[in-house]
Symmetry: C2
Subunit: 364 residues, 2 copies
Amino acid sequence: MRQAKLRPSPRTGNVPGPTGPSCAVPLAHQDRIVLGHGSGGRLTHDLIRQVFLSAFDNPALARGDDAACLDLPDGGRLAVTTDGHIVSPLFFPGGDIGRLAVCGSVNDLCVMGAVPQWLTASFILEEGLERETLERIVDSMRAAAEEAGVSIVAGDTKVAERGSADGVFIHTTGVGRIPAGREVGGARARPGDAVLLSGAVGDHGMAVLAARGGLDFAIDAVSDVAPLNGLVEAMFTACADLHVLRDPTRGGVATTLNEIARQSAVSILLDEESIPVHPAVAAACELLGFDPLYIANEGKLVAMVPPESAPDVLDAMRAHPLGRDACRIGVVQQGPAGRVGLRTRLGTTRVVDMLSGEMLPRIC
Amino acid sequence: MRQAKLRPSPRTGNVPGPTGPSCAVPLAHQDRIVLGHGSGGRLTHDLIRQVFLSAFDNPALARGDDAACLDLPDGGRLAVTTDGHIVSPLFFPGGDIGRLAVCGSVNDLCVMGAVPQWLTASFILEEGLERETLERIVDSMRAAAEEAGVSIVAGDTKVAERGSADGVFIHTTGVGRIPAGREVGGARARPGDAVLLSGAVGDHGMAVLAARGGLDFAIDAVSDVAPLNGLVEAMFTACADLHVLRDPTRGGVATTLNEIARQSAVSILLDEESIPVHPAVAAACELLGFDPLYIANEGKLVAMVPPESAPDVLDAMRAHPLGRDACRIGVVQQGPAGRVGLRTRLGTTRVVDMLSGEMLPRIC
């Protein structure tokens, strides 16, 4: 059982609260790295802003989207994205680290409107790793790349001594072309936009948690890890002017919507009742005190689209196997900038903050 | 002291010989990953061929160059390369993991004739890492990127629990444009070509070894880690038809030349006397039983150029700060394909094989 939630670390002050994303001790200026710096939530954002953005200052990075958009001399645009994968365990219901690595980069490209074309894959292997394990992972990457229609064109392999890396780490970088006329990005949400979600939330995080074992009860969750580029193309066919697309991975839907609300300087109001959660995931979250809105997904996306296009986009999503359960979950509103609210089943409205601290480390 | 050479691992059969690249037990079909699979030598090549190439089958990868060359719809070409960096220790005389990560990707691009433009950087941090250490590394990356004229446009950060990763691992992916007309690659060496080397060999590997401590004597070596794109541009100005460029990193000059001899189906004859080695590196190699031709470099390149252009290219190299000690070290010959020979100081000729097994793990 390796989740931080059940393993408070008083030495670092990282004490995730039992029922949500709160954090007992301010963590922004810690002098050591804590697990929460990799959560995808507030600590990650602070680290990026304070350490990386200030050093690697450039417009593509500063935009804070899932992929950098780069201008080519011919007027074309490239999207480039990178991701490290350290999921533990390596295999889980519905997927494995290889499928995750390929889909992660494919999805970060397509939510920028890019057509994913090329991936690189860089491996850190721990001395003693079974070769058959590596072969299974590589075969899974091959299958996922085929499914997504991308080629793995460059790679690297390093081996670290036993005990100095955990089995296999995989970094993938994705490169794709952005077709002319597509302008999608986290800063383009407009008041009035419909907020769409492609399906049930929390499947990936709970599947990985279940695979770790050590719980007193079974979780019947299967990871949703899948390449979303086909779904995205179907959505663009229904509406050329999609405003925002993003895949809610680490930090879940709640953190992703907070990021977008900040980037676009809008507020977002969600309707709790409309957000699909599979019963097994809902039950496990209930037992563990997790909020499914903060659990990672690896085959879902949220979209902000002009209200008049929402019905067509929803129809297109529902016609695609990965969007069958798509639904409208909320609306973009004028200010207060950066706030995400949730209208609960009881009719009250509560603020949905960004994840701070860490709920489930090593989830992707 | 973590080098494999002084730590035979009988459980894996990986017993590097004491005086060179030989390996007592055949390793090609081992069922577990050993350190030698990350050496950059024969075991790495076997793993790439048997596991990765067979799964990710495509022409860009199969070419086996330092970067993939990809065609854009406008007729332009992109070079893409990726590298993981796990060097231990993180800081060493002349550099650190951050400078290494930036220069590694810049160099893999420019030896394909590309002009490096964009990098991505993906970090795995170990829980408990000092934030100041991370900031020093990031600042070094910033400085190296500035020196090379590239932008770091996308990134990712993951945190692994204490004990499941070693401090900091950094993966960089580089993207650059290949100017029209440049055709450089490992398969383009031609009989008669001059083999040029930009300076002394073995500095990086011995500097890292020295920084590990645990030796009974001091090694006064400083890593040569540097971005080579300026030097490469100077060489292209002197001769538009450079045949092969490559940076001899893991596995050293010996392994790099073996790769090229195989790709081009030629043989290469080196002149031992002409290969520069700094006295401190030569002395340490002598004491440790290492051959400097197998020690990693991170700021050197080898080039195969038409014999009539060699004097101009050498002049251009020597006029650049990173090529001051450039020299002609050998000649490309017709067959036997894939063989590298060395004319020794005694006037005899011996075969210089590819590194097999592992001399110094975690060198980059």
